[in-house]
Symmetry: C2
Subunit: 261 residues, 2 copies
DNA sequence: CGAAACAGCGTAGGACATACACTGAAAGTG
DNA sequence: CACTTTCAGTGTATGTCCTACGCTGTTTCG
């Protein structure tokens, strides 16, 4: 498609622009096939289940066949990280910038929750994959009508990103922990804390414990840790909602100041 | 110390309350030794370098000796995650709640940066380790004088946490990526983007690119990816500062409303 | 002095990523 | 059609990892 000029290897791979000669045996595998199989595996089990051998056998090929299409497992992970992001909705979202960003953050969050392994893939560089950039674009588009400079729009989005990712990671880790050992949450957890936390050493914390905050509302609502996780994350979602609202209120103040001065 | 009653295994381990008989051969290794050695290894190289074999040989023992003190590698990781957190400063911080929380967030951030592997350890449950709770206590203490209910104080802190952790992860991942391949940042990155990003498909994004935002201020300032990373993280720190300010401004509004109503 | 309890060690099994040399198929060239 | 080049997929081997299991030798209690 576009000339492949001098693009970095990784970027070319992400955009499907690996040159590829036209002589020799016809490939039976494509990069897309491999990525899809890996994503399916990760969705069904976990990122740990994604080994080159498993992916290859899932495709009915030998392990080493994959290395013709992918330089290393890290490259495969890179591909997976872009494939996990589904195409963002194209119709422009309704509402002013704040509602749009809230919507965006929730979309990202539920998307990550559909692919819980996403959080375990290390980010090795700035966003470069097509889907990743599509989501970035959508967030920036929400701020298009505001009085912010382009650089400031980016800063707002880049501030939002860790909030969403951090929230996703926290809630998913806790869900996984809860699924693995429900005993360490709720009641039992509260009792352990009460026993261990010395009111002299941890005054503020023990006041919170004494208020019984930890007792009832245990961990996030989890449907069982299965493959498709659309269940209620009410408790933590409320926290996320709160944090998001606070952040955006701060941004609103910033925008108002920009518009005025 | 405190009776070990019915504490969960993990919690007992974290608080150093593993029973341990007094008969038999004297232990040459303690859990603390093992944890310290593992942390030292992770600091010096990476979390991937922390294998049971490496840790054991670092201590001049055989691999399997460690399993007398630790049930699995996951338990060791759990111990490491609490050990990475240094004891928070005990003198109560000056200033009102907002300054204190900013200070707290920066302390946490620099602490994580001193132990970059911290972000790779999966969180398997609610905070239970002594140091972890100490930091939680300090954050809650900052809000002690405010008009918030105990539950709301916790919500404010729990909202702050993903922000800090997400920021830490993002900035460290990017630093690592930059150290591994500086070409994919700055100039080259901007040029790749300009070539790949179709203004029709990504209108908002290409406006940002056209504004030259990506060109100059590339990645975080990194001193080389070595062991001790106290170098300037200026670029991303500014972004973090911005996000933090926005969040806390929202919290301030919330507190004001609580105090009024 | 037994006997029980306990720390550390050696081995072995199963999993992993991947380097390397190989086989055989497709496409171009004469 | 024959021959060569280029490339896809395979098999083997190396070095790493975690950890289950059984053993040896030491310490302390009855």
């Amino acid at each position: 498609m576009t000339a492949e000029g001098e693009l970095p290897e990784d970027v070319a791979l992400l955009w499907g622009l690996r040159s590829g000669g036209r002589r020799g045996r016809k490939p039976a595998l494509t990069v897309e096939d491999i990525t899809r199989a890996a994503v399916r595996l990760a969705d069904a089990e976990s990122l740990a289940a994604v080994s080159m051998a498993r992916v290859a056998s899932e495709l009915g090929n030998s392990t080493m066949a994959l290395y013709r299409h992918v330089r290393s497992k890290d490259e495969l992970l890179l591909l997976m990280s872009d494939a996990a992001l589904e195409e963002p909705p194209t119709e422009s979202a309704p509402g002013e910038w704040r509602e749009q960003l809230i919507r965006w953050a929730h979309d990202v969050l539920t998307m990550i929750r559909r692919h819980p392994w996403y959080r375990d893939i290390p980010i090795s560089g700035p966003p470069a994959g097509p889907r990743n950039l599509a989501w970035l674009d959508r967030a920036l588009a929400a701020l298009a009508e505001t009085a912010l400079a382009e650089e400031e729009k980016l800063a707002v989005v880049m501030g939002l990103l860790p909030l969403v990712h951090g929230q996703a990671r926290l809630s998913l880790d806790l869900s996984a922990g809860y699924a693995a050992d429900p005993e360490s949450f709720g009641e039992g957890y509260a009792r352990s804390l009460a026993r261990l936390v010395d009111p002299l050493r941890f005054p503020a914390l023990s006041r919170v414990i004494a208020a019984g905050v930890f007792g009832s509302g245990g961990p996030p609502g989890v449907d069982g840790g299965g493959t498709d996780r659309t269940g209620p994350f009410d408790e933590l979602d409320a926290e996320f909602q709160f944090a998001l609202t606070c952040y955006l209120e701060g941004v609103a103040g910033f925008i108002a100041r920009r518009a005025a001065g």
